[in-house]
Amino acid sequence: MNNSADSSSEAEVSSEFPYLEDESVVAVQRGPEPGGLGGAYRAFGETLRGLKTTFARIVEGPVTIQYPEEKTPVYPRFRGRHKLHRFEDTGLEKCVGCSLCAAACPADCIRVVAAENDPEDRVSAGERYAEIYEINLARCIFCGYCEVACPFDAITMGHEYEIADYNRDDLIFTKEMLLAEPLERTPLRREGE
C-alpha cells in the first residue's frame, strides 16, 4: 500500500486527502514532466535511435520461417513434449511407476497407476511398473520438474512442441504415446546459432 518512499510527504498528502486514512487512495509519484527541448528529443531522437537498428537489419534479408513447412530449430535444453524411455539393451521400460513425477508436478497433470511385475514377463526392471502413465498436456506447464524428480531418468522433456489438437481429451498422452518416437524430429539449433 505504501508506494511513497518518503513518509513525511505521505503525511502531508494524507492531510489533503482524507481518503488515504481508509487506504482507499493510492498515491503515485511521478517524475518531473520534461520541458520544451527535452520533449522534442523524446519525440524524435529516441525514435530515430530505434529506427537505426531497423535499417541496419534490412540488409540482412528476411528471417521469416515458413512454418509448418519449415520448423523453428530449438535449443537442446528446450522443454517440449515429454518422452518416456526404455533401456537400450533389454528394452524394458525405465519407469518403475514410483509416482515421484506426479508428486513433483505443480500442475498435477501426471497420473501413474502402478502394478506388480510378473517376473516371467517383465515390463520394467524393478518390482513395480507403471500400468497406467498419463500426462495431461493441456494442463502441463512444461516446467520440467517431473524430469528432475525421476530417479531413473525415465521421463525427459523432449523437443517436440507441435502438440495442438482439436480435442482436449486427445491431449492426454498415454504411456504408449510417450514411449513412441515422435514421427517428425524437431530440428535442433546448432552450437553458436
Partner: protein, 839 residues
C-alpha cells in the same frame, strides 16, 4: 482412574509439563520437541529400546539414554540437540542404512515411511558405505495376505512384539543372529492369524506390505476418509484410503475407547466387498420370474403397492449392518404406516426371548424388563473399563469370533495388569489359555450355568447347583472380584445375570456388563426400535413375532410381506434354508441388499444397498458409544442413501417422516429415543460419544415401569423340544446315549458374506465342521476329516469331523452362518452318522 500428577522437566531449555510416569518421547511432545523413534509404539505395551534411535542426553547420567524407555521425573534436564546426541542419532541411521536397499521408488512405503523421514531429518545425508549389502530373496509371501522384503527390515521388533505380545499368536520370530537376523515363522509356515494385518501398519519400513494394496497408490494419490467398520460389533474406527473414488485399503484410526488402534483382518481386507463388481447397483423388479432392472420410482411404487396390500401382515427383518437411521425408519414404516408389530433384528433372539415355546407370544413385560435391566446405564461397562477391571468374565461367547477386538483387549488386561480372567462357555475359547478359571457347560445350558453362578456369588433367589455344574460355578465365582468385574457376555438365556450383576456390584465404577450382540449394530438397532417387544427407546409397543415366529407365520401364510433390510436370513438366521421356503410363500419380499444372494432370489423387489463405505449415519457400539458412519466413496450406479429411500417409501405409504437428510434422520431418532435426546452428528464427532455419559441417560426406562416380573429368577426356560434341566444337570446326559451328542453352534469369524465377496479373504472361508471331543469321536468310530451327517428332528447337516482336545465330552459344535441348517440344531441332541471317509 485418577489422572497421574503432572511434573515439570526441562527439554532443550524449555520447561515442559507432563504426566508423571510418561516416557520421555511422549513428554517431549508437550514441549513441541520431536525425538525420532522406530521401535517405540505404546500400543505394543512396554517399550523395548531395540533401535536406539531415540537417544538423548540427560543431565546427571553420563551415557546417552533412550527416550522411549526412560520415564520422566520432576526436574529432569534433557538435551535432544547437542552434538553428542546428533552424532549418535546420525550414527544409528547410518547403521540402519548399511544393509537397507534404499529402493524407495519401488517400495510401497515410499512417501509414508518413517525411515525416509528419520533419515532425512536426523541422518548423515550421505552414505559412506561401499561394501555390498546383505541380500535376501524378496519379496516373498509371509502369509497369503502379506509379502515380506527382508532386506528392508530394520529389525525393530514391532511385528514380532505384535505377534508375541498383542495377538499372542506367537508365530512371528526373529530368526538367526547378527546381520543375518530376519523376521519369519517357524519352518517358514505361512503366518495365518486373524489380526496379522496389523503388522503391515506397524512396520516402520516397507518390509511388510499388503498384497492387496501393493503398488496401488502413493500417499499423494489418495484421500483418507474416516468412518467406522460395521462388519462386526467391534465397530472399529477406520480410515479408508480412497484413490479415484475406489477404496484401496483400510487403516486403523486409533480410538482407545473402541479398538486401541487395532483391526482384524476381516475389517482390514473386507473393503473389497464394497468394491466388488458384482454389486447390485440399481433397483430390480421381478417380472415373469426374472429380476429386471427398474427405475427408482417404479421400484418404490411396486414396493409400496405390495406393502399397502399386505398392510399389517408385513414383517421387517433388519440386518446387523444397518445404521440406526435405517433401522429406525424401517420399523417406523412397518409399525406406523402398516400397523404391523413384527420387527426383528436378532438372528436368534436376545436376552430372555423364548419364541418357540410360546409361539412368539412370550411375556413381553419380562422380555423388556430383562433388556432394561441388563442394558441399564448403571450396569454398562465401557470398553476401556476392561483396562481397569480386576477381573473379567467371558460368558457364553468367544470374542475372537463374535467381537474380535475385545479378544485383544482382554488379553491386554491379563498381560499388562494381571487381571483375573474367567471363561465360561460351551465351546472351548481361544482365551482359555490366559484364563485363571475356565468352565464348560453343555450347549444350550448357559442359563443354568449363569443361575448357578449367581447362587455361588451369593445372589438372593437363586439355587445353588449340585455336581459338576455347581463346582464349575464355584470356581468361576472365586475368580471374580465384586465391584471390579467386567462381564463380556452373549446369549439369549442369561436371566441369572441379573443376580450376578447384583452380587458382583457391577453398578460400581469400572465394573459392568458388555453384551456382544449378534449383529454389528445389534445394540443400536434394538435401541431405535427393531425388536418385536420394544419400540424406539425400548418403549412399550404391541408385541410382534420374533425371527422364527415370523418365519413360521410367513410359511403358514398369516404374514404376506417381508421387508429385508440388509438381511439375508437364509444365510444368517436360524433355520437357514427354511427361510427360503417361507420367503417363497410370501406375496411380497422387498430386499435391500448389496448382492444377489439366496434371499434376493426370493425377492419381488430389490433395492440396492449401500456399503458401509458409502453410508452416512450412526451406529451404536455394544458399550453404548454412538459412532458416525461417513461416506468415503460415492454411491456406485443408482445406489441411493438408504435413509432417503426409506423416507420416500414411508411417504408413499402415508407416513411422512420429514426426513430430508442424514442429520434429520438422526434428529428423528433423538426425538423418539429419550436416552438419545438431543444427540447430533457434531456431538458424536470423530470418536463417538457414549450415551450413558450424557445427561439424557437418565431417561433410560425404569425397570419398575416395565411391567411385573412374571418369572421366578433363576428358573431356566428352555425352548420347546428341549427338556428344562434340573438344577445340577450339566446336560451331560448325552454321554450315556450311544451316538448322540448335544450340539452347540457358533458364528465363526469368517462365516460371513464378506469372506466370500472379498477375493483376499476367500481362502479363509470355513467349511462346515463338527468339533468333537476325542472320547466321543473314538466312541462313534470317527476320525478327523470324516464326513458325517448330523441329524435331529428331521433337520440334517453335513459336516467334516474335527477332533479337539478341549471340547467337553458329550458336546459337539457346528458353524452358523454357512447357509445350512446348523443354527437350527443349536442345543439339540443329535444323531451322527458317517457319510464318508476323509479325503
Amino acid at each position: 482412574m485418577p489422572d497421574p500428577p503432572r511434573i515439570t522437566l526441562l527439554v532443550d531449555g524449555v520447561e515442559v509439563e507432563a504426566p508423571h510416569g510418561a516416557m520421555l518421547v511422549d513428554a517431549a511432545k508437550h514441549g513441541d520437541v520431536e525425538i525420532p523413534v522406530f521401535c517405540y509404539e505404546p500400543k505394543l505395551g512396554h517399550p523395548v529400546g531395540a533401535c536406539r534411535m531415540c537417544v538423548v542426553e540427560i543431565e546427571g547420567i553420563p551415557k546417552l539414554q533412550t527416550a522411549c524407555s526412560t520415564p520422566v521425573r520432576d526436574g529432569m534436564v534433557v538435551y535432544t540437540q547437542t552434538e553428542r546426541v546428533k552424532e549418535a542419532q546420525s550414527a544409528v541411521v547410518e547403521f540402519l542404512l548399511v544393509n537397507h536397499p534404499l529402493d524407495c521408488p519401488v517400495c510401497d512405503k515410499g512417501g509414508e515411511c518413517p525411515l525416509q523421514d528419520v533419515a532425512m531429518g536426523w541422518g548423515p545425508g550421505r552414505s559412506r558405505s561401499v561394501d555390498p549389502k546383505r541380500h535376501f530373496q524378496k519379496p516373498i509371501p509371509l502369509s497369503p495376505l502379506i509379502k515380506i522384503d527382508r532386506e528392508r527390515c530394520i529389525l525393530c521388533y514391532r511385528c514380532v512384539r505384535f505377534s508375541q505380545e498383542v495377538a499372542e499368536d506367537e508365530q512371528l520370530q526373529l530368526l538367526e543372529r547378527g546381520s543375518s537376523t530376519f523376521v519369519g515363522t517357524f519352518d517358514n509356515r505361512p503366518y495365518i492369524a486373524p489380526f496379522h494385518g496389523n503388522i503391515i501398519e506397524l512396520c516402520p519400513v516397507g518390509a511388510l506390505t499388503s498384497d492387496a494394496y501393493r503398488f496401488r497408490a502413493r500417499p499423494w494419490d489418495i484421500e483418507d476418509a474416516g468412518t467406522v467398520c460395521t462388519l462386526c460389533p467391534s465397530q472399529c474406527n477406520i480410515k479408508l484410503t480412497v484413490r479415484d473414488e475406489r477404496i484401496e485399503r483400510v487403516l486403523a484410526r486409533d480410538n482407545v475407547d473402541v479398538d486401541d488402534g487395532w483391526l482384524c483382518d476381516k475389517g482390514r481386507f473386507g473393503y473389497q466387498m464394497a468394491e466388488s463388481g458384482q454389486r447390485i447397483t440399481e433397483p430390480l423388479i421381478r417380472a415373469g420370474g426374472e429380476l429386471r432392472p427398474a427405475g427408482w420410482a417404479e421400484a418404490l411404487e411396486a414396493a409400496a403397492a405390495g406393502l399397502r396390500e399386505a398392510g399389517e401382515r408385513t414383517a421387517a427383518i433388519v440386518g446387523g449392518s444397518s445404521s440406526n437411521e435405517d433401522g429406525y425408519l424401517a420399523q417406523r414404516i412397518v409399525r406406523k404406516a402398516l400397523g404391523s408389530p413384527h420387527v426383528e433384528s436378532r438372528p436368534s433372539g436376545g436376552p430372555g426371548v423364548e419364541s418357540r415355546r410360546t409361539g412368539g407370544r412370550g411375556p413381553a413385560g419380562f422380555l423388556r424388563q430383562g433388556l432394561v435391566e441388563l442394558s441399564a446405564p448403571r450396569l454398562a461397562a465401557s470398553v476401556s473399563d476392561l483396562d481397569r477391571a480386576e477381573s473379567i468374565l467371558v460368558l457364553g461367547t468367544d470374542p475372537l469370533h463374535s467381537m474380535p477386538i475385545l479378544d485383544l483387549r482382554i488379553r491386554k488386561a491379563v498381560r499388562l495388569r494381571g487381571a483375573r480372567l474367567a471363561v465360561a462357555t460351551d465351546r472351548p475359547s481361544v482365551l482359555d489359555g490366559g484364563a485363571e478359571e475356565t468352565a464348560r457347560y453343555a450347549p444350550g445350558f448357559v442359563g443354568g450355568f449363569v443361575s448357578a453362578l449367581a447362587a455361588e456369588l451369593g445372589a438372593a433367589g437363586y439355587e445353588r447347583a449340585r455336581g459338576e455344574l455347581g463346582a464349575d460355578a464355584e470356581r468361576i465365582a472365586g475368580a471374580l472380584k465384586p465391584g471390579s468385574t467386567v462381564i463380556v457376555w452373549a446369549g439369549p438365556d442369561a436371566r441369572g445375570l441379573v443376580g450376578c450383576a447384583r452380587a458382583l456390584r457391577l453398578e460400581e465404577d469400572g465394573a459392568g456388563l458388555i453384551e456382544v450382540p449378534e449383529g454389528a449394530n445389534g445394540r443400536g438397532l434394538r435401541e431405535v426400535g427393531c425388536l418385536p417387544v420394544a419400540g424406539p427407546g425400548l418403549s412399550d409397543v404391541e408385541q410382534g413375532l420374533d425371527a422364527s415366529g415370523i418365519r413360521d407365520a410367513l410359511e403358514a401364510g398369516s404374514l404376506e410381506a417381508a421387508l429385508l433390510v440388509n438381511a439375508d436370513p437364509i444365510r444368517d438366521f436360524a433355520g437357514g434354508p427354511a427361510w427360503g421356503e417361507a420367503l417363497g410363500k410370501a406375496k411380497l419380499v422387498l430386499a435391500v441388499s448389496m448382492f444377489e444372494d439366496a434371499s434376493t432370489r426370493q425377492a419381488d423387489v430389490v433395492f440396492p444397498a449401500e456399503s458401509y463405505a458409502e453410508k452416512e449415519g450412526t451406529v451404536t457400539h455394544p458399550d453404548g458409544r454412538l459412532q458416525r458412519l461417513r461416506p468415503g466413496t460415492p454411491h456406485p450406479g443408482g445406489v441411493r442413501p438408504m435413509w432417503e429411500v426409506l423416507a420416500e417409501l414411508g411417504a408413499l405409504l402415508g407416513e411422512e417422516t420429514g426426513v430430508e437428510s442424514a442429520p434429520d434422520a438422526l434428529a428423528a431418532i433423538a426425538s423418539e429415543v429419550p436416552f438419545y435426546a438431543g444427540i447430533s452428528h457434531e456431538e458424536i464427532g470423530g470418536t463417538g460419544i457414549r450415551w450413558q455419559e450424557r445427561a439424557a441417560a437418565r431417561y433410560w426406562p425404569r425397570v419398575d415401569d416395565v411391567g411385573a416380573r412374571d418369572e421366578v429368577p433363576g428358573r431356566e426356560v428352555e425352548p420347546a423340544g428341549r427338556t428344562a434341566p434340573e438344577p445340577g444337570d450339566t446336560g451331560g446326559r448325552a454321554e450315556d446315549v450311544d451316538g448322540v451328542i448335544r450340539v452347540g453352534t457358533y458364528r465363526d469369524l469368517w462365516a460371513a458374506e464378506v469372506t466370500d465377496r472379498s477375493p483376499a479373504l476367500r481362502f479363509l472361508a470355513p467349511r462346515q465342521a463338527l468339533e468333537l471331543a476325542p472320547r466321543d469321536a473314538a466312541r462313534l468310530g470317527l476320525g478327523s476329516g470324516h464326513e458325517v451327517e448330523v441329524r435331529s428332528n428331521g433337520t440334517s447337516v453335513r459336516a467334516r469331523v474335527s477332533i479337539h482336545e478341549r471340547v467337553k465330552p458329550g458336546s459337539g459344535f457346528l458353524i452358523e452362518g454357512l447357509g445350512d441348517r446348523a443354527a437350527s440344531l443349536r442345543g439339540e441332541l443329535v444323531e451322527i452318522s458317517k457319510a464318508g471317509e476323509p479325503e
